[in-house]
Amino acid sequence: MALQRELDLDLDPELVWELVTRPDDLAAWLGDEVDLQPVEGAAGRIVDDDGTVRRLVVGEVDTGRRLSWDWWEEGDAEGTRSRVELILDPTEAGTRLRVVEVPLTVEPVAALTPRASASLGRRWNRMLADLELLAMLRSPLLHRV
């Protein structure tokens, strides 16, 4: 159970692997500033496009096939920590890239404004589809807060 995304690319896995590991390529999509070495145990740092700064530690590196890392917000000792996996599978047209992000810990949302809460409610549809939680798709879960 996790957040999942799939992207079909018209590039061979070797080239997609470059996109997800070479510094100049990573900086073009993963965040505004990216320090991520595809080396198991390597520590790094990413500044997201919204300014969020994350620390990371690289987990598994299976060249051309799989890359994983754990990341968490900088200075956020007890905050949200999650594991990201990028999985490359060859297809006829090129490569299917799967992204899986699993929260290891989630920071409690202490005070959501009613407006923010309503906005979350509207977004349930897609989030739950992501998580195959369709059976639970009943907004009262959120609106009874």
Binding site: M1, A2, L3, R5, L7, L9, D10, L11, L15, V16, L19, V20, D25, A28, W29, L30, G31, D48, D49, D50, E78, T80, S82, L97, V99, E101, V102, P103, L104, T105, V106, E107, P108, V109, L112, S117, L120, R123, W124, R126, M127, D130, L131, E132, L133, A135, M136, L137, R138, P140, L141, L142, R144, V145
Partner: protein, 119 residues
């Protein structure tokens, strides 16, 4: 039973695991609409025993997704919306962030494919 606030942080993974089971999601859905309800009431109309329902509820309670209150001889269960809200908040942010990243990655890949076609 309520989960102490300090434990909240450790429960995201177990909560998602608990939600991976369709029966438990259906139980949560019913509690959200009609709760609080007893295990007996929740077992009605389901192809599983009251004991099996109780086991699912126990698991959901252990990860803080439902609470139970005793009233007389009956234990009634209800959802803990706050726990789901925390997960929903994380999911909303993480989903949006990956959509943006993968849009950029797709654009970069198209550039790369174009370069190769020309070169």
């Amino acid at each position: 039973m309520t989960v102490p606030r300090g434990r909240e942080l450790d429960l995201a993974g177990p909560r998602l695991e608990a939600l991976a089971d369709p029966t438990r999601r259906a139980l949560l859905g019913q509690l959200a609409e009609e709760g609080p309800l007893s295990a007996t009431r929740l077992a009605q109309g389901r192809p599983i025993s009251r004991q099996a329902v109780a086991k699912h509820l126990q698991l959901l309670e252990s990860v803080g997704l439902v609470t139970s209150t005793r009233s007389g001889r009956e234990t009634r269960f209800d959802t803990c919306p706050g726990a789901l809200r925390d997960l929903a908040g994380w999911l909303a942010a993480a989903s949006d962030a990956w959509d943006r990243r993968l849009d950029r990655l797709a654009a970069r890949a198209r550039e790369r494919a174009g370069e190769r076609a020309q070169g």
